[in-house]
């Protein structure tokens, strides 16, 4: 029985693929690519998170300033009424004078005699494509108002974040393409090394599906293992990056190993990476071997 157990693996690998498809080379290359893919996924996710934060938070804000007398002469209610009628405005709220004074204190110091303007904070329904145009329309709807459209800067930051997200996704596709190429080259080398054995199996009645399936199973195993290794290597790196980016997302960076923001990592995507890599390896090997087998009768 022990003898049979020792013998069986060789018998089940008639093509000798354990040696023809090198585990060290293919898994090592795929591990490096999985590491890059994990960084690209996390980069895309991080950029998308920043974009969403800017778009949904500060990005949707504008301010309207009225002269200090506006609160007393009835212009403030009229302005609020006019702003409420604009579809782009989700909410318009006058800023509390005490908060305004606190905001200005770093620049003006304690100056109780100085009359402060009336400031209305606007929360927009969505980020305007042309913030300056909306500012002009608001200024026209509220006579005497000065509109601060800092959304222009936010829009530029948003565009930058979206570009980063797109670049990260493009990098992910590029890594996937290189992985397919690497697997295809490795499988072709394996075919060249086992050409006679493949021809023999074919002559003995093996189907294309059988022969391609043997290569695909081996490639899927090696690529999946490489994908798992690369993903595991990426986790601490990503946790470090997430910690560095914490202030941008409004949280304080942690200290020490346990203080890293582990929960913020894209765990579902990272968990999907090894099986997706294995599936890519399987499909690439199937296609490569079947194309080669077409030359046989």
């Amino acid at each position: 029985m022990a003898e049979a157990r020792l013998r069986r693996p060789r018998g089940r690998d008639p093509l000798g693929l354990r040696r023809a498809l090198s585990a060290r080379l293919l898994s090592g290359l795929v591990a490096a690519m999985a590491l890059l893919a994990a960084l690209a996924i996390a980069g895309a996710g991080g950029a998308a998170g920043l974009a969403a934060r800017w778009e949904g938070g500060a990005a949707a804000a504008m301010t309207v300033q009225l002269p200090a007398a506006a609160a007393a002469d009835g212009r403030l209610p009229r302005a609020l009424e006019a702003l409420a009628e604009m579809p782009e405005v989700a909410a318009a709220r006058p800023m509390d004078q005490a908060r305004l004074a606190a905001l200005l204190r770093p620049w003006l110091g304690e100056a109780p005699a100085l009359p402060l303007p009336v400031v209305i904070e606007l929360r927009l329904a969505e980020l305007p494509e042309e913030p300056a145009l909306l500012a002009t329309r608001i200024a026209a709807a509220v006579p005497g108002a000065a509109v601060e459209a800092h959304g222009v800067w936010v829009a530029r930051l948003l565009a930058l974040a979206r570009s980063l997200e797109a670049v990260a996704l493009a990098a992910l596709l590029l890594v996937a393409g290189i992985a397919v190429t690497v697997v295809a080259v490795a499988v072709r080398a394996g075919i060249a090394a086992r050409r006679d054995a493949i021809a023999l199996l074919h002559d003995l009645g093996a189907t294309d599906a059988d022969i391609a399936g043997r290569f695909a199973a081996r490639a899927a195993w090696l690529v999946g293992a490489g994908g798992l290794l690369g993903t595991l290597l990426a986790v601490p790196v990503l946790a470090g990056f997430a910690n560095l980016a914490a202030p941008l997302l409004g949280t304080a960076p942690g200290t020490g190993w346990q203080g890293l923001p582990w929960a913020r990592l894209p765990w579902p995507e990272l968990a999907a990476l090894p099986p997706l890599a294995a599936a890519l390896g399987w499909a690439t090997a199937q296609a490569t071997v079947r194309r080669w087998l077409r030359r046989l009768p």
């Binding site: 060789r10 018998g11 008639p14 199996l201 009645g205 189907t207």
Partner: protein
Amino acid sequence: MVRFAGVGLHYADPPGRSSGAGRAALQDLTFTLPAGSFHWLLGESGAGKSSLLRLMQLAQRPTSGVVEVLGADLSRTRRRALPGLRRRIGVVWQDFRLLPHLTVRDNVALPLRIAGRAEAALLADVAEMLRWAGLESRADALPAALSGGEQQRAALARAVVMRPALLLADEPTGNLDAAQARRVLALLQEMHRLGTTVVVATHAESLVEAFPAPALRLRAGRLMSHG
């Protein structure tokens, strides 16, 4: 069982040496081999014996004519149906084609595994074949450790382990001494007695005299005589 009608086979010219017509390996072959028959395939080296066997084992399609093997017309049979037919044909190649990284037992078991036979079910058949070929003591040896005669018998055991309807052998005694050659031929004739259609290619006329049987005689790709 095997029917050839006006069969021709041309190989393409090597790159850079194109004459347009290619090289004619076989020309206008017409014959029929009944089920359960034993035939010699005779001819000098280069006469086309191996090409004819390749057509019979469905490893090649003819350039012209009709090849019918095991009831299937090769020119009309779809590619995906050929593996099933090949499993019913046993072949002993001149160079044995044993896989060097597999033991004799695993080499002999290979056709059964390809056919999807369960591991538990195939061990008895393999053991019987190894006994039949006189290789039971060499079951766990790698081919490189076998003598030429043992390798030939291992190849023969692999060819017959599926109980093929058609058994083809290409120069099966070419590399063997007289005693080993007689032993291999005795095994081939035993398969014939069990009802298998057997075709044996050789250029050794002495073998034919020792084991008289109908013969197909080829010269320069043409069939010179049949019977």
